[in-house]
């Protein structure tokens, strides 16, 4: 054990722990708590029953009262352990509660009602996962519809963006044509026009193209990004021109050079951009909020936002839906966090 502590606290340098080392590890521990804690709390809560969600103060693990089905009662009855009074030590089922007294029955005599004080009994609980929070999403809400909308938008928009941006990046990286500088300047210009400052005209252009309130209206307007062009072009510049020349000698057309040589060789950059694009699209909120109005077309984010208004009391479904919405992102993160980190660092964000 001492060895384990030694191992954990050892700095990579040498010698004893300085107070700064203690501070470092305290900070990191606090970081884990602050960053993961809320998410863990959310996930835990999403497995709780409505009754447990209302409980104050809340408990970490999802508990549910243990119940029993007794003859003569239509609903399952919650079980209690009696802690004081006549029946002390026995397990009883509560039929109903009136004021400060509780009407209970013994399990072996279900028709004989006994009245005991509320303080004399303790609920028998066990950890129980309220899966109905999740199953309700599918039965009561159109969760699959929103999930499909989000997925469709994310996948199609990402694919279009990768193709369109990589073509442009290829042109800007591998050809010396007159006007290249002008095009580069244009790309930088677009960098200065984020979607947020052209919402009104974007809405109108999209409307005129007949794409308003359709998934395409979300997909197409953001399909070309300057960030994507910069990222891919930077990478393509590192591919030696000699390889392209070799392909030209091999009678490959320019299109073939693009998609059989340059595109496969840019795979690492494409992967980074794909992950970024998936994240952007999956989490996108403002533009879908403007472009989509029928709830049939809502993405998960929109659905989540609109339901939090409607279902203020229905935290159970809302929490479950939140968990399902962040799940794909969490999975992507778990498997690809290295790529994401380097990708984000290299683009400087959107």
């Amino acid at each position: 054990m001492a060895k384990a502590i030694d191992f954990l606290t050892r700095t990579r340098g040498h010698g004893k722990l300085h107070w700064t080392d203690w501070f470092t590890y305290a900070y990191l521990l606090f970081g884990i708590l602050l960053m993961f804690g809320p998410v863990v709390w959310l996930v835990m809560s999403s497995f709780k029953t409505d009754a447990e969600l209302d409980r104050f103060p809340p408990r970490f693990l999802p508990y549910a009262a243990q119940t029993v089905e007794l003859e003569g009662y239509s609903k399952p009855l919650p079980l209690y352990k009696v802690v004081s009074g006549e029946l002390a030590g026995e397990t009883v089922a509560q039929v109903r509660r009136i004021g400060l007294t509780s009407q209970v029955v013994r399990l072996d005599a279900p028709d004989q009602i006994v009245k005991i004080g509320l303080k004399d009994r303790e609920p028998i609980e066990r950890i129980s996962i309220a899966t109905e929070n999740y199953t309700n999403l599918f039965s009561k809400f159109d969760f699959l519809r929103f999930f499909w909308n989000s997925t469709f938008i994310t996948v199609v928009a990402t694919v279009i963006m990768l193709i369109v941006n990589s073509m442009a990046a290829f042109a800007l990286a591998k050809y010396k044509f007159s006007g290249r500088a002008a095009v580069m300047a244009m790309v930088i210009g677009v960098l200065m026009i984020p979607q947020t400052v052209v919402l009104v005209p974007l809405f109108i252009v999209t409307k005129e193209l007949g794409m308003l309130d359709s998934l395409w209206g979300v997909i197409v307007p953001g399909a070309a990004t300057p960030t994507g062009i910069f990222l891919l072009r930077q990478y393509m510049l590192t591919i030696p021109d000699e390889i392209l020349d070799a392909a030209r000698m091999d009678k490959a057309s320019e299109w073939k050079i693009y998609w059989r040589i340059v595109l496969p060789l840019s795979a690492p950059a494409i992967a980074v951009l794909a992950i970024l694009a998936i994240m952007w699209r999956w989490n996108d909120f403002l533009w879908p909020l403007i472009a989509l109005s029928r709830s049939d077309n809502f993405t998960l984010q929109l659905a989540l936002n609109s339901f939090q208004g409607e279902m203020t009391t229905q935290w159970s479904s809302l929490l479950a839906m939140t968990v399902l919405t962040l799940l794909p992102v969490a999975l992507v993160f778990a498997f690809l966090q290295k790529y994401i980190a380097t990708g984000i660092a290299s683009t400087g964000g959107k």
Binding site: M35, V39, A168, N283
Partner: protein, 322 residues
Amino acid sequence: MIRIVSFFMDLIDIPMRHAQRYLRGHSIAWVFLFPNLVLFGLFAFLPILLNVAYAFTGTDNIMLWDRTYVAGENFAALTACSNYLDANSCELDLFWRSVHNTLLFIVLQVGIMVGVSLVTALILNRRIRARGFFRSVFFFPVLLSPVVVALIWKWILQRNGLMNAGLEQLGLERVVWMLDRNWAFAWSVFLSVWAHMGFYTLILLAGLQAIPRDVYDAATMDAAKPFRTFYRITLPLLMPTMLVVMVLALIKGVQTFDEVYAFTGGGPGSATTLIIQYIYETGFAGAPRLFGLASAASIILALVLAALTFLQLKFTRRNADG
């Protein structure tokens, strides 16, 4: 799947070969650029022009030809104030309230964000175990969608939530956070820092790691104390990265909408209504839809953002050069 894509791509090859024959040399580049340029034109450059057109026309008609030219009326309305520091004295008080909110928001958010990110980056840059793991711990919330972030914290801050349980544990009174103007604003700043700090930490960490080891070794040989090393070596060498981070944070901060809107809806009252929300509600959510006013506000915002982006490019380029 790959076959299908292959087939499709080979199909494109046929017209491309013809294009190649007509476009001598490097002019073929234009063919590759075409789809992108069309998208940029339709969804970036055309909108910027339209924005101007809408900002100078009035009525709630959506089609440009149905609108009447009103010259600078929209801008005049936006800027009609007897005292710019007092939103109540303005014709469009909500606009000015959102401007004030946004200014306060970015001052707090960027300040705290840069501070916290710097400390975190410095800590992650120490000789610690499992640095990759800790880096991703702080980075994780960056990936969460704004709506999810808002709901996570809303759940914690609700009346019967974890935060109030903690307060009670400490013997304090419960607070209904979301109904208090100041608390709602403060938590909005907090949540936005929580969600985005990992991103800036990452950039600062990269900046720290780019400082050559031997500079520190030299400082050690010069018997510099740790704090002195920090002020005289780390901080100056990190300054370019800090500038980039600050400007980036400003650019994004000004455009904050999603998480705060999902968190507070702009309330209570208009306590957390930021500028983008104002534009959104003026142009799309309210009735009548005041496209002209929204466009005019957008143009003001665009000018601010263009200036900031210009700064960002300048700093980034200087970084790359030096």
